[in-house]
């Protein structure tokens, strides 16, 4: 069993299909919708946590891609320019998901991308503007 977060982007003509139903029914994947922006006829974006057997998740992702839905692991879509980070901690103040935390020994920033819920509060909270999140 593995658990991984993915960002799904739907093209304009795919927003009304019940893809998540098929992930559950056909691939035995437990899905958890963490964020959704659906604009019928325009686009749709989803943050999904997929939990299941590794093969099932891989096949489920392939099924989505076959249906013209972009499906990428969340950690590929969030970037922190670590080289420039000064470990001030401002981003950890807003990260209620616990994805961004300070190491209590070194006081360096730690980023557990698998806990991110794409609230995007860290983007404006960083005084150096070091975060980039590609959700849409």
């Amino acid at each position: 069993m593995i658990k991984k977060r993915y960002i799904l982007n739907f093209p304009p003509d795919r927003g009304d299909k019940a893809f998540s139903y098929h992930l559950v029914k056909d691939y035995d994947i437990r899905i958890n919708i963490l964020k959704a922006e659906v604009y019928p006829g325009k686009r749709g974006s989803l943050l999904l946590e997929l939990q299941g057997k590794k093969d099932n998740i891989e096949n489920g992702v392939k099924y989505l891609q076959k249906n013209q839905i972009t499906c990428e692991p969340l950690d590929k879509r969030i970037h922190l320019n670590e080289e420039k980070c000064i470990d001030c901690g401002n981003c950890t103040a807003v990260c209620f998901a616990g994805s961004l935390t300070m190491n209590k020994e070194t006081w360096k920033l730690e980023f557990d991308k698998d806990k991110c819920v794409v609230c995007e509060l860290c983007i404006p909270a960083c005084p150096l503007n070091l975060f980039e999140i590609d959700f849409r």
């Binding site: 000064i86 470990d87 001030c88 901690g89 401002n90 950890t92 103040a93 807003v94 209620f96 300070m102 209590k104 070194t106 006081w107 360096k108 509060l121 404006p124 909270a125 005084p127 150096l128 503007n129």
Partner: protein
């Protein structure tokens, strides 16, 4: 009688490589096992440091005279307004200055760009005079083309600072970072037991002329900082429990490093600048040994509600609690986050330690001590004369 050391003795030991230097964190740990009397015997200098956003900062620049010359009466650097009331080609660029049309790029960014060796556009206007006939100039400058480039910060290194929370239902954006509604986070901005002015709360060693680490080079304390307040409430150890005294500092930006000077933009607040400061404290006597021995559980600060007008105090907590990740205010558990970098502050304290160990950094006795019993006036509004 307990031991008393002089600046001269300590400097001799520094030169001969025999001085014992600890960071303020190391001496706080040592003090759990060792008495202040023994600390005076064993330790010569304690290094303290901070790396936080310090809005009251800026740089003095002399551009050099062009030919034909101009009396610069309006000045912009990359569009950021600079002070124009200093002779023909002198200026001061404040860290928080910005063009309202471009609020995310300000004086701190200009300072950082120059520090990193980038070209910056200087544009200036004058009315034209007999001795300065030119009326306009637009040219590129960089750190090598300008004469003086001096960091002069009127208020830095606050002695303690408040914890910020927000009790309202709306998220607010402040210089203490983004404060979530309903007391869902708390931010603090001091390096606690490593913080310079908390280790010498009564200014027994820090004064006018103290040589310090500033932005990666040697700088000086030149004056009490603005809003210098020495009579704020203190705890039983004599440490202020809110923001109190400050220092004004100066140093040569041409020798500084972008590792220790960092421009910043705080959402819906504005531009500021992170400044790295390290101050060596000579352990002259038992009293000073006691002061540097304090640890995070003995340093307290006030929790203020930034969402409410007048920022009412909601509680008082220690730095030990703040650094644990949670504080309790009125029975409610609140998640904490720093907004100043302790890891950078540690790096500064250690670098200063190395400078001292190598014998290249002399500690200096202040040429004048700071005033005592100071307080602040607020701005009283009186009817302005419209004549």
């Amino acid at each position: 009688m307990s031991k008393i050391k002089t600046y001269e003795e300590i400097n001799q030991k520094l030169k001969s490589g025999k001085a014992v230097i600890l960071t303020a964190e190391e001496v706080s740990k040592m003090a759990l096992l060792v008495s202040p009397e023994e600390i005076v015997e064993k330790v010569d200098v304690v290094t303290t440091a901070t790396f936080g956003a310090m809005c009251s900062s800026g740089a003095i620049i002399n551009f050099g005279h062009p030919n034909p010359p101009i009396r610069m009466e309006k000045i912009r650097l990359n569009g950021v307004p600079c002070y124009e009331g200093l002779a023909a080609v002198d200026s001061y660029i404040g860290a928080t200055a910005c063009d309202p049309e471009n609020p995310k790029y300000g004086g701190a960014h200009v300072i950082q760009d120059l520090l990193e060796g980038k070209d910056v556009i200087l544009e200036a206007w004058g009315k034209g005079t007999d001795c300065y006939p030119r009326k306009h100039i637009r040219t590129k400058i960089n750190i090598n083309t300008i004469n003086e480039f001096t960091l002069f910060n009127p208020r830095n290194a606050y002695q303690n600072y408040n914890v910020a929370v927000n009790s309202t239902k709306k998220m607010i954006h402040t210089y203490m970072g983004t404060l979530l509604p309903n007391l869902r986070n708390a931010t603090y901005s001091t390096s606690g037991e490593l913080s310079p002015l908390l280790n010498d709360p009564e200014f027994k060693t820090i004064g006018l002329g103290t040589r310090i680490f500033l932005g990666g080079t040697q700088g000086f304390v030149v004056w009490p900082g603005t809003q210098f307040h020495t009579t704020k409430p203190k705890n039983e150890l004599g440490v202020p429990v809110t923001n109190a005294a400050t220092i004004a500092v100066i140093g040569n930006l041409k020798e500084m490093s972008a590792d220790y000077i960092q421009a910043a933009y705080f959402e819906k607040y504005g531009v500021s600048m992170f400044v790295g400061i390290g101050i060596p404290i000579p352990i002259l006597d038992v009293e000073i040994a006691k002061r540097v021995s304090i640890n995070n559980s003995q340093i307290e600060t006030s929790v203020l509600d930034y969402g409410t007008n007048g920022t009412p105090k909601l509680g008082q907590v220690s730095y030990k609690e703040l650094q644990s990740g949670f504080i309790k205010v009125n029975g409610k558990k609140i998640r904490t986050a720093p907004v100043a970098s302790l890891s950078k502050a540690r790096k500064i304290a250690n670098e200063l330690k190395e400078w001292l160990q190598s014998g290249n950094f002399e500690i200096s006795k202040p040429v004048q001590m700071f005033p005592q019993n100071t307080s602040l006036k607020s701005l009283k509004e009186t009817e302005a004369d419209n004549d």
